[in-house]
């Protein structure tokens, strides 16, 4: 069901942003999900062993394992279908999320700063993210899971574009 929905524009009337993020982002999201799951499962096993490993705990651990495994398989692929971005002369347009979907439109003329962050986790997978902030504290636009070289190109492109339009509309 989800594949059908994501294949079409999920929001009637708003077109899909042109570019996908890097395919390596799937591996990155999977790794992140597996790590988070491992922490939860280890904590559960720790408590279970400490309290004498009852049947209830066996069930809880089993269910957690199944849910986390499903999450680690489904979430990254679903996310990859949703995450998209586009830069036009006028605006930065992104779509992100998976279960809940977020769209963001920020006019290039209102962008104040452009940063690129490379957290350790993303660096391992050769990824980077780009954040554009506007004068609104509520409006930073983030593009996660970009290919590192592409992020650099995008950073320069946005820097040039924002330099050309004066005013900040505050």
């Amino acid at each position: 069901m989800t594949t059908e929905r994501t294949a079409q524009p999920m929001l009637p009337g708003l077109r899909v942003p042109a570019n996908r993020v890097s395919r390596r982002a799937i591996s990155y999201w999977t790794a992140r999900a597996v790590l988070a799951a491992a922490v939860v499962l280890l904590a559960e096993v720790g408590i279970a062993v400490g309290s004498g490993f009852s049947v209830v705990w066996a069930w809880i651990i089993g269910i957690t394992f199944a849910a986390e495994a499903a999450h680690a398989v489904i979430m990254p692929r679903w996310r990859y279908r949703v995450h998209r971005w586009e830069v036009t002369d006028q605006a930065l347009y992104t779509r992100s999320g998976w279960f809940s979907v977020h769209w963001q439109i920020a006019p290039i003329s209102r962008i104040q700063t452009i940063d690129s962050h490379r957290p350790f986790g993303e660096r391992i997978f050769g990824l980077a993210n780009v954040t554009a902030t506007t004068a609104s504290a509520a409006g930073p636009v983030r593009i996660h899971g970009l290919d590192r070289e592409l992020a650099d190109v995008l950073l320069d492109q946005l820097a040039v574009a924002t330099g050309q339009t004066p005013g900040d509309a505050t």
Binding site: G13, R15, F99, H102, A106, P107, S136
Partner: protein, 498 residues
Amino acid sequence: MTGAESGAGAEWLRLSPRSLVVRPLTDLVRLVPLLAGLLILHSDRGSDVIWGVLAAMAAVVTGLVHWSTTRYRITDERVYVRRGLLNKKVLSVARDRIRTVDVTANLLHRVLGVCRVSIGTGRNDWRPGQSLHLDGLARTDAESLRLVLLAAASPADQEIVRLRLAWLRFAPLTMTGLVVLGVLFGSVIQITNATDINLAKTGPVKHFIRDFAAYSIVHRIGVGVPFAMAGYVLIALIGYVAVYWNFRLTEYGAGTVRVTRGLLSLRATTISLSRLRGVEISEPLLLRAAGGAKCSAITTGLRVGEGAEHEGSVLLPPAPRQVAHLVAGELLGVPSGLVAGPLRRHGRAALRRRYSRALTAACLLIAGIGAATWARQGPAWVWESSFALVPLAVVVATDRYRNLGHLLSDGWLVTRAGSFARRRSIIGTDAIIGWRIRQTWFQRRSGLMTVTATTAAGQQHYSLRDVPVEVGLAVAAGATADLVRPFQLDVEARARTA
């Protein structure tokens, strides 16, 4: 900052020498509850006093340094503030970026004839210590500074509204009383901590508790509740009067409005009308029930919402609803339909969502209460009476739906939401600097989404919650056509059908 760069002509000015007294005295005033506690309650701990004296001496020195190192200068283009002894810092702002000038004076300031001026600019990301303020300016200097900065030279001020004593009836209906109570409670805790005294074990309190416990439960409720309520009303009235006494909202000739208020601490906020991005009318439940409302300015650099009364954005204290509508309409220059008229509802799907959310929350609470009573073997009536949450949830959901709405008209976006704290925000569409659209899986199934306009003013984001997809997109495209149109699918087809 070199001399040539910062412009010639204007000279660096100092704060008033009287401000030297302000800082040490403020710190001493903070010590008063502690000293009083020590004297009244006969604590034998003297070390705190020594520390207090040392702190006061340090305060005198920092006050001296603060005064001698703080300078300001106004040139034709910019305002400069220089401060710091070892780490020198020059802050500057272009004069055309100044939105508000906020002049405050607490009791001590007033005795000394000085005040604190803070200059509101378009930046929201001032780090602490980086805000453009001058603490301890002579009152006449502050007044001339305000006139220079916002070019409100014409003295022909026209009063829009002033405080009426009848408005005091709204005082107990807001949270102000609770805030005052919280502050009182905090200082009592501080005194008891500092003096190592357990208040509950002191004579008067012990007597009081013992006498009170001697009454029957009916008497206790019959006497205690009215007393508590009377006390609360009194505190709320005192809070209202202290904050809003002499409230006046006036319009100056040169496109600025000025709010003055305060009994002991005075505050005069000047807001440039051309920088006013909108007005928020908020009606907390009790205030709404009594036909009251309050207004705050949506502008860059002034905070809205929590703690707004400490900032300068208050345009109207709790007052009759009609006055709030009048103020909002007058300041924004919009027809009354925008500030008071009916809004476009969000439809049956939004109503269903209100019900399902409220009822889910109620069911979870009932289940939680049930589990707790079962586990602790409490009386069954606790769990049974929790079923009253169901009709309550229905009432709340209905009210939330009735309050949910929006309107786009003449370059203004109006949004309204909330039940316990209903808010209606009227924002100019030219202040919108981006859109966020959010659709959860549940919203997707019912064809709804939450459209949020982001702005640099006020709360930074204003949402149309659970609006039908088509309607929400039409609003976004209607408000900022250049921004949204390029990303819309088949605009032509849509325009033909519309």
